[in-house]
Homo-oligomer: 139 residues x 2
DNA sequence: TTGAATGCAAAGTGTTTGCACGTGC
DNA sequence: GCACGTGCAAACACTTTGCATTCAA
């Protein structure tokens, strides 16, 4: 139905052992769902593999994050959200009241970076820009 | 020894009931300690009020955050850090390996903002910019 | 005096881990 | 076949909560 996840191919190439569970998690993330929690991934993966466990979901998500295929997004409260949209630069807008989370791509922030001296010797992997406020419903 | 916390005055003006515990927490945050955890605040506050409880520390920190006097900083793992430096615009640099946390004030990022349309009707309170990477020790 | 703040401990939430069993390569 | 992945449940780290007691104003 959806596109046949090139994600899985990439993972196999990296030596990933492809199991039904991992495939299910990858498929959930390949869909259009933008910011899912581990529980939501579990719930959706269960429609394909009813016996998949939360531990496996966490394991898999953790590996995907480590491989740079998925981004962790933490709002002020509540569980971590996983964002499979790593290939389009974007930032986040989060409601401190209800936790609503939106993508934003403000103009003029794309080139946020650190000069050599400012990096304090760090190897920078990524920059996370989060706008906090209250959404129309909560304000 | 340090400056006599105008923070407390500000809080009293806002109708805060000033208790020894709250004073102790405020004093910890008035010091030069940049990014403290709730436990560290407890530990330091105990040197003044040995019987202060963790619950009170959390209560007080939560109120200070709600009042905008303290900022919450969440690294990838571990407990929330509290940053009393709200009056100088700055961003954070965090090591994804060991959790080390540094302040940075990169040039050219000060005016990060959202245009009306981009805000999606949100009332923006603040912007949080976090650079993630590995520190010299971990890289 | 009196409502707000405190301390304690128990409950909660989200995530990680240990280990026996199962399975992709 | 064997190392790696899985499911389960218990452990875990951090934070919040309920309630009787204390105390700042």
């Amino acid at each position: 139905m959806t596109t046949p996840a090139p994600l899985l191919d990439r993972l196999r190439d990296r030596g990933w052992r492809v199991t039904p569970q991992r495939r299910a998690v990858a498929e959930v993330l390949t869909g259009e769902h933008v910011h899912v929690t581990a529980d939501e991934v579990l719930e959706r993966a269960r429609t394909v593999i009813p016996e998949i466990s939360l531990a496996t979901v966490y394991n898999t998500l953790g590996e995907l994050v480590a491989m740079g295929e998925v981004l962790e997004v933490r709002a002020s409260r509540g569980p971590v959200r996983y964002d499979p949209n790593v290939h389009t630069a974007h930032h986040h807008l989060v409601c401190t009241e209800c936790g609503k989370l939106l993508d934003v791509t403000p103009t003029g922030v794309e080139n946020v970076g650190l000069s050599g001296a400012e990096a304090h010797g760090f190897v920078i992997d990524d920059v996370d820009v989060t706008f906090r406020g209250r959404c129309p419903d909560c304000a």
